[in-house]
Symmetry: C2
Subunit: 248 residues, 2 copies
DNA sequence: AAGTGGTCTAGACCACGGC
DNA sequence: CCGTGGTCTAGACCACTTC
């Protein structure tokens, strides 16, 4: 074929945003500002190709990528339609974020803030040497003055030197990790079961002794694939249910 | 362009398996039988195109699809490599399958097998009219003679007429749904919390009264997006923890 | 420099859905 | 029937990694 690129093609964007991403963006925008509602038909491949002056394959790429992201559904012979709003199942959110999404005021009381070196099991879960010094951070979580959960976090003490007790009362631990320490959280492996409230726990959570609590043990990983922290959570079962979607 | 298709192209398979899926299959095969191990390089796009006599875009389609399925990882400039074996987190498995994977003998005792029409909440969860007749199936789950869980399933009675009590003692409900009723299960939305064992429950599970149990309520959906059944499970917390991976 | 994946073209035919 | 998405071609250039 004759070389013809770069001489008169107005639609090339080397070093720029790929065309298919621009197309995605225009569709996303119309979904987000309400011009397109769930169930509405999106421009077809052929329409998009004409509008954006790209080939069919490029328009197609935009739509298949949007489908993979769950924004639209494609039906052969029918068209491409805006998908129902994503329910954020299996989304790892911090306590602060969860409360915010329910428009409740989140607040925390720091119960423990100390360095320990004898939590061998936790160290093992974080893939660290058994006697690694760990910052142990125990917090009572409150939603609108009502105790809700006790969360105990363990972080490698050395890595997070400079973390102060006071910064944790209001700020989300996740946001501190991300902003101050440049750690992007990727996912958490969690283990869930039920346990009875020990006397001290019961009193903090203001529930009866031996009341069933949801216990969640999390190993939280950074985007670099490194175990960043371990969290043991005890949740009042009358105030908290965990939603999960599992696939076959 | 001149019409040229169907006259001399040897590689067209109308009504057949698409070429990109055949390419996927050949790669999958080599991964599954051990010829390719995690980290090994897969044939490049250009190699695949030559080998299978397809265009680059088609070979590319095969690889991107495999990447989306998590079978391979692609690195620009470097190549395409076999991904580490998938850990099946968040996988919806039946009790029977779970036991098999731990090489324990699963067995069930049917406690209840009846049609009810006053479970309005359950009907609502299945998106059915409040007084829809539902088959209520309550089973004690045993792992090697040890009680493990109580699971109560609700299915639309009309749709599953012909389901017999005896077929459930050994057979997996999932496999019966898939083989006899042609229902492919897709995913389940689950709600988890902790609850105390009621006297009857405690006695069935052979635990102390008020012992904490993990309670899981599932709405299980078919591949057609229809709510197929509702399951209430009570699990002995000392014998069962649920593993979940959540993403940020 | 050679090879790889990422983007893109300007078309084609097929299978399916709804009118 | 017509429009839609699904598959596919035979190339192209770009950005990146590895040597």
């Amino acid at each position: 074929m004759i070389r013809m690129i770069g001489e008169f093609m107005p639609n090339r964007h080397p070093n720029g945003i790929p065309a298919y991403q621009k197309i995605q963006a225009t569709i996303m925008e119309r979904i987000e500002n309400g011009q397109l509602k769930p169930g509405d038909a999106v421009d077809s491949e052929r329409e998009l190709a004409k509008i954006h002056q790209v080939s069919l394959m490029t328009a197609r790429h935009a739509l298949t990528a949007l489908e993979r992201e769950g924004m639209v559904q494609r039906r052969r012979g029918a068209g491409t339609f805006v998908a129902p709003p994503k329910i954020h199942f299996n989304k790892l959110t911090s306590f602060t974020e969860q409360m915010a999404s329910r428009s409740l005021s989140a607040c925390s009381k720091v119960l423990t803030f100390e360095v320990v070196d004898n939590e061998h099991e936790v160290a093992a879960r974080l893939a660290l040497a058994a006697n690694t010094r760990l910052l142990k951070l125990e917090r009572l979580r409150l939603a609108g003055d009502e105790p809700f959960a006790i969360e105990t976090c363990y972080l490698p003490a050395e890595e997070f030197a400079g973390l102060t007790r006071s910064s944790l009362v209001r700020g989300s631990l996740f946001s501190i990790l991300e902003s101050t320490y440049g750690i992007q959280i990727a996912y958490a492996d969690e283990e869930m079961d039920a346990t009875a409230a020990a006397p001290a726990t019961a009193s903090l959570l203001k529930v009866a002794r031996d009341q069933p609590l949801l216990r969640i043990r999390q190993v939280i990983y950074s985007t670099k694939g490194k175990a960043a922290l371990y969290v043991l959570g005890l949740y009042r079962s009358d105030r908290h249910t965990l939603l999960v979607r599992r696939f076959r």
